[in-house]
C-alpha cells in the first residue's frame, strides 16, 4: 500500500472540496476500496473519510410513499428495516444476497453502488486493463471470460458491474442525489453508470469531487411491493457474485399485467434495464408463454464476449423464472437465503 494522507471530513462541503483534489478518493465502509489499495490496484494519495458526515445515515420515508436512503446507511440496516423490506422487497432481497453478513454490516449503500468490477484481470495488477490504465489493453478478452458481459460490452472492456443492490434500484427507477463543486443534482441510476465504449476507465457520470449523498426510490416503486423479486444465480449458495441475476416487478390487476419491470445483473457493466421486455407484458396475462416472450426480448441484443455464451440462455431462463416467482409470490417476507433459486434452508426447517 502506498503512503497517503487521511482526512476525516466533518461535513459535505469539506468532503466535496477535498474530494476534488488530484488523487483523492472517498472512503466509506472500505470493504471494496481497502481491498483495492492492498492489491495495489488503486493508489490514492488522499483518503477522504466520509463516515462521519452528518445526516447521511438516515432512511427517510417520504410523504408521497417514496424513500430517501442516506449514502452512509449500511447495507444490513437498510435490508432489515421492516418498512423498507415491506415496501421494497426486491431491493432488500438483493442487498441480503450480496457478500456476507460482516461485509453488509460495514458496507454503505453509496459504496455498494460505486463498487468496482470484479473482472479477475482488473483485480490482477500484472494484467493489462483499460479500466486501470487507459490504453493498456484488455487482458480479459481471449482469457478466462466465463462470467464476463453479454450485453453492452465493447472491444475495450467486457467486464460486468457486480452490485446486486443496484439491479432492483435500476428496475424501480432509483435516483442518485449528488452534491459537488457545481452544487446538487439528481441523476437516474440507470444513467449514472456508463457503458465501456472506448473509455472503460469512465465508470459513472460523477465528476471529481462529486459525492453521492442519497439514493431515492420513487413512490411508484412501492406499488410493486406485492409482486417484486430479486433472483440471483451463483456458483455457490451464498457469498458469491451473480452469474446472472434478475430484478422483476409486476403490477397485476385482475388477470392482466398493468406494469412490468425488469433489470438484469451480471450481464453488463451496468444493471441492464429491459424496457422492451417490460413493454411486451403490458396488458397481457402473467403466464409462462408471455414471460418467455419477454425473456427473448430482454436478451435480444446479447452476444458472448468470450466463453460465456451459456449466460445468454441462462439469463433468458432466469427472466422467466423471476417473473413466474414474482407473479405468484407475496414477497413481503424475506426468505432465509435471499434471492436463492432453491430455498433449502426453509425446506430443511419444515
Amino acid at each position: 500500500m502506498n503512503q497517503f494522507e487521511y482526512e476525516l471530513a466533518p461535513n459535505v462541503e469539506n468532503a466535496v472540496a477535498s474530494g476534488r483534489s488530484n488523487g483523492a478518493v472517498f472512503l466509506a465502509g472500505g470493504t471494496n476500496l481497502i481491498d483495492l489499495m492492498k492489491g495495489n490496484l488503486v493508489r490514492p494519495t488522499r483518503l477522504v473519510d466520509i463516515n462521519r458526515l452528518p445526516g447521511l445515515d438516515r432512511i427517510e420515508f417520504l410523504p408521497d410513499g417514496g424513500v430517501r436512503i442516506g449514502a452512509l446507511v449500511r447495507n444490513s440496516d437498510l435490508a432489515h428495516d421492516p418498512k423498507f423490506a415491506r415496501d421494497f422487497p426486491a431491493v432488500a432481497e438483493a442487498l441480503l444476497s450480496g457478500a456476507s453478513p460482516q461485509l453488509r454490516n460495514a458496507a454503505t449503500v453509496a459504496g455498494n453502488v460505486m463498487q468496482r468490477t470484479r473482472c479477475p484481470y482488473f483485480y490482477d495488477a500484472a494484467s493489462a486493463c483499460n479500466k486501470r490504465e487507459p490504453g493498456a489493453g484488455c487482458e480479459a478478452r481471449g482469457g478466462h471470460s466465463r462470467l464476463q458481459a453479454i450485453l453492452g460490452w465493447s472491444a475495450h472492456c467486457i467486464a460486468t458491474h457486480p452490485s446486486d443492490f443496484s439491479v432492483p434500484l435500476v428496475a424501480f427507477d432509483a435516483v442518485v442525489e449528488i452534491d459537488g463543486p457545481q452544487g446538487r443534482r439528481d441523476v437516474a441510476l440507470e444513467d449514472f453508470y456508463l457503458l465501456p465504449g472506448n473509455t472503460p476507465e469512465r465508470e459513472t457520470i460523477l465528476a471529481p469531487g462529486e459525492l453521492i449523498v442519497a439514493i431515492r426510490l420513487p413512490a411508484q416503486a412501492a406499488l410493486f411491493a406485492g409482486h417484486a423479486r430479486y433472483l440471483k444465480i451463483r456458483d455457490r449458495t451464498s457469498y458469491a457474485f451473480a452469474v446472472v441475476s434478475a430484478a422483476a416487478g409486476l403490477r397485476i390487476e385482475g388477470d392482466r399485467i398493468v406494469e412490468a419491470r425488469l433489470a438484469l445483473g451480471g450481464v453488463a457493466l451496468k444493471p441492464w434495464r429491459a424496457r422492451a421486455a417490460e413493454a411486451c407484458l403490458m396488458g397481457r396475462r402473467a403466464g409462462r408463454e408471455e414471460f418467455a416472450e419477454a425473456s427473448m426480448l430482454a436478451l435480444q441484443e446479447a452476444r458472448p464476449s468470450g466463453e460465456n455464451e451459456f449466460k445468454i440462455e441462462l439469463a433468458r431462463r432466469l427472466v422467466v423464472r423471476a417473473f413466474e416467482r414474482t407473479a405468484i409470490d407475496n414477497t413481503a417476507r424475506l426468505s432465509p437465503l435471499p434471492a436463492s433459486i432453491v430455498n433449502l434452508t426453509e425446506e430443511i426447517q419444515r
Binding site: M1, N2, Q3, G39, N40, R118, P120, Y121, Y123, D124, A125, A126, S127, E139, G142, G143, H144, R146, I233, D235, R236, T237, S238, Y239, A240, F241, V243, F310, E313, L314, R317, L318, V320, R321, L337, I341, V342, N343, L344, T345, E347, I348
Partner: protein, 747 residues
C-alpha cells in the same frame, strides 16, 4: 517391546472418550499463539515480491527505489542473498523438492518469489516490494494438457511405479458384456488453509529459532540443516498450533526458508507471512488430472477388467505426479487390472500433497466409472459394488488387516434410505419441481505408518509426563494423543503433563498420510509401556513391595497403581514405589512404526461408503447437495468427536471437489485467474445443509498394537463420486469434468 506389553496390561479409560479439544479454550479466546503471533524484540517484517510471469527471467529490479522508501531496511535478491550450503535444486532425498529461494534470476512459475523486502513495518515492506517494479524476459508457457508433450514418468507420488497391474486387461474388455470407456477431468486445487504459511525466524549465532506451522518438524530440521550448513539440533522449531495443514505444511516451503535467509541477512528476527494470493504458486498444490477409464463387466455384473490411465502434470523443474491409481489398486475385485500414467510439464509450481493426494482425484474417476458400468449392467450401483467387493486387495492379492466396508455400505444405506432409490435416472422430483438424485461412492485410504519416537516418565508424586514432537493441525493431536498417553500410564488426564509441538521433543514423524495418530500413538503406547515396565521392575525386585516376585504372572497398572495380575488385592501406587526406591522418576522410551511382517503380508486400508442426495434445478442447472451420509470404518476410534470432525471436514471438501473448487490458470500467461478466496470457491455453510458421519466399529488386531488406522483424508474420497453419481441420477447427465458448475447442466 511386545513381550513387555503382554506381560504388563494397562487399564485406562481415556481412549474412546468424547473429550473436547484440550486447547479449545485457548484457541477461541485468542490465547493460543500461532506462528505469526510472535514478535521477538527488534523484529522486522519481510514481504515477498513475486513473479508476474510464469516462465522466463527477471531482468531488472529497482532495488534503489525500494530501499529509498521510508522504513525499508533491506532488499534481498539473488545478488545479496546469504549463501547456502546446498543448492536448493539438489535432490538430497525423495522428500526434498526443489525450492525457489533466490538462487538465480530464473522464473519457473507465476508467484515465484523473486525478492524479499525487509522493513520496519509490514506497510513499508509491502510498498517496497511494489517499488521494485520488476522487468522480465518472458517465455511461452504451458498450463494445459493440449499444449505440450506427454511422457511416461519414472515414478509417481513418492517413488510409486508408473505402471502396475495383473491379468489381461484387453482380453477382459474384449470379452465383457458391458463396457464403459470414459474420461474424467479433475482440476488443480491450491492450499487455502485459514492460516497461510508464516514464519518468525531468529538467529542466535549459529543457532536458529523459528516459529512456523509444520506438519513435519524433524524433516524441516533436516532440510534447513542441509541448506544452512548447520546441525539439525541447532534448529529449534515451535509449532504448537496450525491453522490447517492438509499436506501444505508437510515440507518446509521456499517462502519459509526465505524468512530465515532474510533474518540472516539483516541480523535481526524477521517475520514473513504469505499473502493469500501468493499461496497460488510456491507451496504445492493438487495436480490436475485427466483420467481415462475403461471397464468391462460380464453378464452377471462381475468386473472383467479395469484400465485406469492417468494423465497428470508436474512442474517444469521437478517431479511429483498425482498418484490417482491407488483407489483402483484397492477397491474392486477384478481378474484384470492395469493402472498407468503419463505426465506433462506445466509452468506452475510443483504439485504436492493436498488432503488425500491421489486418492481424492482417483476416487472421482473410479467411482464415476463404476457407476456408469452399473448403469450399463442395469444394476443398482450399491448392489454392483457389493457384487465386486474385494475380499483381498485387488492389486496384490493380500488379505486385509480388517475391512468392515460391508457394514459401512449397510449402515450408511439404511440411514440414508437407499432402498427406496429408483434404478433409473430422472425419476424423482420434489415439491419445488427440483430434480432429485441419489448416489453412492466408496471411500478408501491406506493405513500408513511412518516412524516416531516418544518419551514417557512417571514421577514420584504419582504424575506422568509424555513428550513427543507431534503436530496438531487442528485435527486434535493435543487431545487424542494425550488420551493414548494417559491410558498408557494408567493415569487420569489431569495427572498427565503432555508436550508436543516443538522440535526438541522426540521425533514424531510427519503428520501426514493419515498416519499420525497411528504412528505417534504407537510410539506413545510403547514409551508409556516401557515406563510402566521399568516401574514394575523396580517394585518386583523390592522385597518390601507387595509386588515382589510377581515375575511371570506380571502386573497390571490401573489408576496410578500397579497390581499383581494373579491377585489384585496386592498392589501399590506409583508414588509409593518410587519414593521407597528413592527415585524422582522412571522413564520409558518407545518407537512407533509399521510392523514389517504385517505390511509384507497384509493390506491395510480404511474404508467407507458415502451417500449423497442432490437437487438440481431442471432449467437453471443449479445443484445443491441436500444430504450427505458417510459411514466409515478405520479401526479403533480414540476420540469420536475428533474422528467425526475429520470425516465431516473431509466430506465437505468432497462437496468442494464435486461442485466448487478449481484453480484456473490463464492459458496465455500461466497466471492464476482466481487466486483469492472470493473467486476460488469452496463451500460455505449454506452449501452444506445436512452432513452426517457414522463411525463403524472395526477391530484390527494386526495393523498396530492400538488397532488404529487413519481418518484424516478418507472423508474426501467417495464423496465427490457420490455427488457426481447423484447428479446423474437426478438429471440423466454424466458430468465428467470437475467441478460440476451450473453451465455444465444447462440442458
Amino acid at each position: 517391546m511386545n513381550i513387555m506389553n503382554t506381560a504388563h496390561v494397562r487399564h485406562g479409560s481415556n481412549i474412546g472418550q468424547n473429550l473436547t479439544r484440550r486447547e479449545g479454550a485457548l484457541k477461541v479466546t485468542g490465547a493460543a499463539r500461532y506462528a505469526a503471533d510472535h514478535h521477538p524484540a527488534g523484529m522486522l517484517y519481510a514481504v515477498l515480491a513475486v513473479s508476474a510471469v510464469a516462465r522466463g527471467r527477471v531482468t531488472a529490479l529497482d532495488v534503489a527505489a525500494a530501499k529509498a522508501h521510508p522504513g525499508v531496511v533491506d532488499v534481498m535478491t539473488p545478488q545479496n542473498a546469504p549463501k547456502l550450503a546446498h543448492h536448493p535444486d539438489e535432490k538430497t532425498n525423495p522428500f526434498a523438492f526443489r525450492l525457489d529461494i533466490l538462487q538465480d534470476a530464473q522464473v519457473r512459475y507465476a508467484n515465484q518469489p523473486i525478492a524479499v523486502v525487509i522493513g520496519e513495518s509490514l506497510e513499508a515492506a509491502t510498498e517496497g516490494a511494489v517499488l521494485l517494479a520488476p522487468a522480465y524476459q518472458a517465455e511461452d508457457v504451458v498450463v494445459r494438457f493440449e499444449d505440450g508433450e506427454h511422457f511416461v514418468p519414472a515414478a509417481v507420488g513418492v517413488g510409486a511405479p508408473a505402471e502396475e497391474g495383473h491379468g489381461d486387461v484387453e482380453a477382459g474388455l474384449r470379452n465383457a458384456a458391458q463396457r464403459v470407456d470414459v474420461t474424467y477431468d479433475t482440476p488443480a486445487h491450491y492450499h487455502n488453509a485459514l492460516e497461510p504459511h508464516a514464519i518468525v525466524a531468529e538467529w542466535q549465532g549459529e543457532r536458529l529459532i523459528i516459529d512456523t506451522p509444520s506438519q513435519g518438524m524433524a524433516i524441516a530440521q533436516g532440510r534447513l540443516a542441509g541448506l544452512f550448513g548447520i546441525a539439525p539440533e541447532d534448529i529449534y522449531i515451535r509449532s504448537p498450533y496450525l491453522g490447517g495443514g492438509f499436506g501444505g505444511k508437510g515440507l518446509i516451503a521456499g517462502p519459509q526458508v526465505l524468512g530465515i535467509m532474510a533474518a540472516k541477512l539483516v541480523g535481526k528476527p524477521v517475520k514473513l507471512v504469505m499473502r493469500r494470493e501468493q499461496l497460488y504458486g510456491p507451496i504445492g498444490h493438487r495436480g490436475v488430472t485427466r483420467q481415462h477409464m475403461r471397464l468391462g463387466a460380464d453378464t452377471e455384473g462381475g468386473l472383467t477388467a479395469i484400465d485406469h490411465h492417468i494423465l497428470t502434470a508436474t512442474s517444469r523443474f521437478d517431479d511429483f505426479f498425482e498418484p490417482s491409481a491407488g483407489v483402483t489398486h484397492t477397491l474392486y475385485a477384478t481378474p484384470a487390472l492395469l493402472t498407468r500414467y503419463e505426465g506433462m510439464r506445466f509452468d506452475t509450481g510443483t504439485p504436492l500433497f493436498v488432503r488425500a493426494p491421489g486418492e481424492a482425484s482417483g476416487s472421482v474417476a473410479l467411482e464415476g466409472a463404476i457407476d456408469e458400468l452399473a448403469e450399463a449392467c442395469g444394476m443398482d450401483p450399491l448392489a454392483f459394488r457389493l457384487k465386486n467387493y474385494a475380499e483381498t486387495e485387488p492389486l496384490t492379492g493380500k488379505p486385509f488387516t480388517s475391512k468392515a466396508l460391508r457394514a459401512c455400505y449397510a449402515q450408511g444405506a439404511a440411514r440414508f434410505g437407499w432402498a427406496k432409490r429408483p434404478l433409473a435416472a430422472r425419476m424423482m422430483t420434489d415439491a419445488q419441481g427440483l430434480l432429485t438424485g441419489w448416489g453412492v461412492g466408496t471411500a478408501t485410504f491406506p493405513a500408513h505408518m511412518f516412524q516416531a519416537s516418544a518419551r514417557a516418565e512417571i514421577r514420584s508424586d504419582g504424575s506422568g509426563v509424555v513428550e513427543i514432537g507431534a503436530h496438531d493441525m487442528g485435527q486434535g493431536a493435543w487431545t487424542a494423543l494425550a488420551q493414548i498417553a494417559a491410558d498408557g500410564l494408567s493415569l487420569d488426564m489431569d495427572k498427565l503433563t503432555f508436550r508436543i509441538g516443538t522440535s526438541d521433543l522426540p521425533d514424531a514423524g510427519i503428520a501426514g498420510g493419515s498416519a499420525h495418530t497411528a504412528t505417534a500413538g504407537s510410539a506413545i503406547h510403547n514409551a508409556t509401556g516401557a515406563a510402566i515396565a521399568a516401574l514394575a521392575d523396580i517394585a518386583m525386585r523390592d522385597e518390601t513391595s507387595p509386588l515382589f516376585g510377581a515375575g511371570n504372572a506380571g502386573v497390571v497398572s490401573r489408576d496410578g497403581h500397579l497390581y499383581r495380575r494373579d491377585d489384585e488385592s496386592r498392589g501399590e501406587s506409583y508414588a509409593t514405589i518410587l519414593s521407597r526406591a528413592g527415585l524422582d522418576s522412571v522413564e520409558g522410551r518407545g518407537e512407533g512404526a509399521a510392523d514389517q511382517a504385517v505390511t509384507e503380508n497384509y493390506a491395510g486400508h480404511a474404508h467407507g461408503a458415502v451417500f449423497a442426495e442432490v437437487k438440481v434445478d431442471p432449467e437453471l442447472g443449479q445443484v445443491r447437495v441436500t444430504r450427505l451420509v458417510g459411514a466409515f470404518a478405520a479401526g479403533r476410534v480414540i476420540n469420536p468427536r475428533m474422528v467425526e470432525s475429520q470425516y465431516l471436514g473431509g466430506m465437505i471438501w468432497g462437496v468442494s471437489f464435486a461442485l466448487h473448487e478449481e484453480a484456473i490458470m490463464d492459458r496465455r500467461t500461466g497466471r492464476p485467474v482466481n487466486g483469492n478466496l472470493a473467486d476460488y470457491h469452496v463451500p460455505v455453510n449454506a452449501d452444506i445443509p445436512s452432513v452426517e458421519a457414522i463411525l463403524i466399529d472395526e477391530q484390527d488386531s494386526l495393523i498396530n498394537a492400538l488397532g488404529i488406522k487413519g481418518v484424516g483424508e478418507i472423508g474426501i474420497t467417495g464423496t465427490a463420486g457420490a455427488i457426481v453419481n447423484a447428479i446423474w441420477h437426478a438429471t440423466g447427465i454424466r458430468v465428467r469434468s470437475m467441478p460440476v458448475t451450473l453451465d455444465k447442466l444447462l440442458f
